[in-house]
């Protein structure tokens, strides 16, 4: 037998129910071998709960079970749960399930003296031993109170019954109707003290909401809040936060947003895989278009994308995106893009959560777009929607799905006021804003926050063109922020100025060249004059030198000629 036992520190063994989400809230399941009380008003799902407990026990954990019904016949039971895929006759045939219908009629029964309810014990014992049951459901035990008027006897026997069930080692689920002031109408919670779960079915703002609460669970730290749950075609789904701890891994891979300039605004590489992206903007700012680019980029990478639309039909989206040059049709055909469209008003928030969950499970996307998420505010109040979004984000993060949520904001007055207050849970927040100037409205894109990414702090003008979304630099200068036609005008002006300056520069360069040439000419002339002068002077110098030489020669001659007459000069005795 494949009994899966889960031990907690306190040593309380748990019996896993197999009901989606419940084992998580109760940290393993119901207390094994002990009775659990499920109370709730009529129609809140007690019988389904008990039935699913047994069916899952039989099919998933190989634990046969006994269902003792006081209110419905076995045939009715089989019919009622067949729509959830519980094939009771088959389980009965395989001896995994024993259905026992105990019919009680008050009018038939006269009480004529002492009695006890041994007959019930006998029947139960018979049922349990027939299939070797480990799980027992009594639905609903309070019917006994309607049939037997001696409540003392009844209470004593109930006490005996629960002791007996414990001694038998079966995990029992007892259902009871909730009373006005007490948990149950007849106060059974006194006897079933180990675990008490309260089911609730309310109509809130025209939406029916089912809630589950673990009122008491001895020996276990259990989630004590109210958890929404659904009863739908696979049975009961309790919707806790997917992981009550924040222990998601942090993948380091980056994926493109589908618009190259947006990727460069996000540190050059785009979003982190598994991150949650909030895209807010007033009406008509182009949120869905941006989302379409994101989705197309994913498909181009070969990844699967799920687009959950709550305002437009898939055909409308495809047609509208085609007008800006984004063709989503081929991706739909190739099965990489899947649309899921439903108006939020069509069902309650819990149903939407389950729808998103199921669509994600079935399609296994890597990328999801929910467009827009603010429509859900129409279905629930603020805190409910916020809680639902938290669960959705949690679900995506635990699967490392990159999710983009578009959100409609009221207008331009306070664009950072996100209506549903979930921006703190998002990793990236892109804001599309309308910029009015010069009688025009243009759109601007801001990256308000991007966790873990060095992102640009500048606004970019966001234009929807035939080739898709274009992000352009805005003009920020002395004239202020200019977009649209004002920017175009400014750019033209700047171009003209540039042109002028260039021309000026050319002119000046030409002037300089001319001057240099003139200077060089002058210099050449002056040089030539100088050369002539120099030559003249040199010639004079030469002449002077030669005359000098001659003078010297002549003097020497004279001296020589005089030298021969030196006696004569001496003889004259001229002293």
């Amino acid at each position: 037998m494949s009994n899966r036992r889960v031990h907690t520190l306190n040593g309380i063994e748990k019996c896993p129910t197999g009901i989606a989400g419940l084992d998580q809230i109760t940290d393993g399941g119901l207390p094994k071998g002990r009775p659990t009380l499920i109370c709730g008003t009529a129609g809140c799902g007690k019988t389904v709960f008990g039935m699913e407990f047994l069916v899952r026990g039989a099919t998933l954990f190989d634990e046969p079970g006994v269902f003792v019904a006081f209110e419905e016949s076995d045939k009715e039971l089989c019919q009622n749960v067949a729509s959830m895929g519980f094939d009771l006759p088959a389980l009965q045939a395989r001896k995994k399930l024993f259905l026992d219908y105990i019919r009680l009629e008050r009018s038939e029964i006269q009480e004529t003296g002492d009695y006890d309810l041994e007959g019930l014990f006998v029947r139960l014992e018979n049922a349990i031993s027939t299939v070797g049951a480990k799980r027992v459901v009594l639905d609903t035990i309070e019917s006994l109170f309607g049939s037997f008027s001696d409540t003392n006897v009844l209470r004593a026997e109930l006490r005996r019954l629960f002791r007996w069930l414990k001694s038998r080692g079966v995990t029992a689920v007892i259902t009871a109707e909730s009373g006005d002031a007490k948990l149950t109408r007849h106060g059974i919670e006194e006897y079933v003290a180990d675990c008490v779960i309260l089911l609730d079915h309310r109509v809130q703002e025209q939406m029916s909401i089912r809630r589950l609460r673990v009122v008491k669970y001895r020996g276990t730290a259990h989630g004590t809040s109210e958890y929404p749950f659904l009863i739908e075609k696979h049975g009961i789904s309790v919707l806790p936060l997917s992981s009550l701890q924040l222990d998601h891994s942090a993948p380091g891979q980056r994926i493109s947003a589908g618009i190259p300039r947006l990727d460069s605004m996000l540190g050059g590489k785009g979003f982190y895989r598994g991150s949650s992206i909030l895209l807010t903007g007033a009406a008509g700012t182009g949120k869905s278009s941006l989302a379409a680019h994101f989705v197309r980029a994913a498909c181009q990478r070969g990844e699967r994308a799920l687009y959950m639309a709550s305002e437009q039909s898939p055909a409308e989206i495809v047609r509208n995106m085609r007008s800006i040059g984004v063709d989503l049709e081929p991706w739909v055909k190739r099965g990489l893009l899947h649309f899921h469209a439903a108006r939020p008003g069509s069902s309650g928030l819990e149903k939407h959560l389950v729808t998103i969950h199921q669509a994600t499970e079935e399609f296994q996307p890597q990328v999801v777009v929910i467009d827009p998420i603010t429509n859900f505010a129409a279905v629930g109040n603020f805190s409910d929607v916020k809680s639902m979004v938290t669960r959705v984000i949690d679900m995506f993060k635990s699967r490392q799905i990159t999710a983009m949520f578009t959100s409609l904001t009221r207008g331009d007055s306070e664009p950072e006021l996100s209506e549903i207050g979930v921006s703190s849970q998002m990793d990236v927040w892109l804001l599309l804003r309308n910029l009015e100037c010069n009688g025009e409205r243009n759109r601007g894109l801001f990256v308000l926050k991007a966790r873990g990414i060095a992102h640009s702090n500048q606004i970019r003008e966001f234009a929807l063109t035939d080739q898709g979304v274009q992000l352009l630099d805005v003009y920020i200068g002395t004239a202020g922020l200019l977009t649209g036609s004002a920017r175009v005008a400014q750019e033209a002006r700047e171009r003209m100025e540039d042109e002028e300056r260039k021309q000026q520069l050319q002119r000046k360069t030409a002037e300089l060249t001319a001057k240099r040439r003139k200077l060089e000419q002058q210099m050449a002339r002056m040089k030539a004059d100088f050369v002539v002068e120099e030559q003249g002077v040199l010639r004079d110098l030469d002449e002077m030198k030669s005359r000098e030489k001659q003078n010297v020669l002549a003097r020497v001659e004279i001296k020589e000629s005089r030298g021969s007459g030196t006696l004569a000069a001496h003889g004259n005795g001229i002293h």
Partner: protein, 109 residues
């Protein structure tokens, strides 16, 4: 005549408008003995000669509890004449027994 333990029917003479009663008990307890004694008395007093009673011990034949939908023990079931009537308890309150069996007191042949 009362047959213990097993499911044995004894037919007496003139059982056409006879009564068929079945007493369910769970083991030999003081209560079940009281019930049997009381039943005998009542039958002798009010149904002399036209009744058949059998006693079923659920501890010996547990599956019979299902057929007549027996929860409380002791339970006396009037099987014939129809309609089916059930009364529970050790049959100490004779008036209630008679009402429950739809038997007018002292109704002897």
């Amino acid at each position: 005549m009362i047959a213990d333990g097993k499911k044995q029917k004894k037919k007496e003479q003139g059982a056409q408008d006879g009564w068929s009663l079945r007493l369910y008990i769970a083991g030999e307890t003081p209560r079940s003995r009281t019930a049997i004694v009381n039943l005998r008395q009542i039958c002798e007093q009010h149904l002399a000669g036209r009744y058949v009673v059998d006693v079923v011990d659920l501890h010996k034949t547990p599956r019979l509890a299902q057929g007549d939908q027996i929860l409380a023990v002791p339970t006396l079931v009037r099987r014939l004449p129809p309609p089916l009537k059930k009364i529970i308890g050790d049959l100490s309150d004779v008036d209630r027994v008679l009402v429950g069996l739809d038997l007018r007191p002292g109704e002897n042949k």
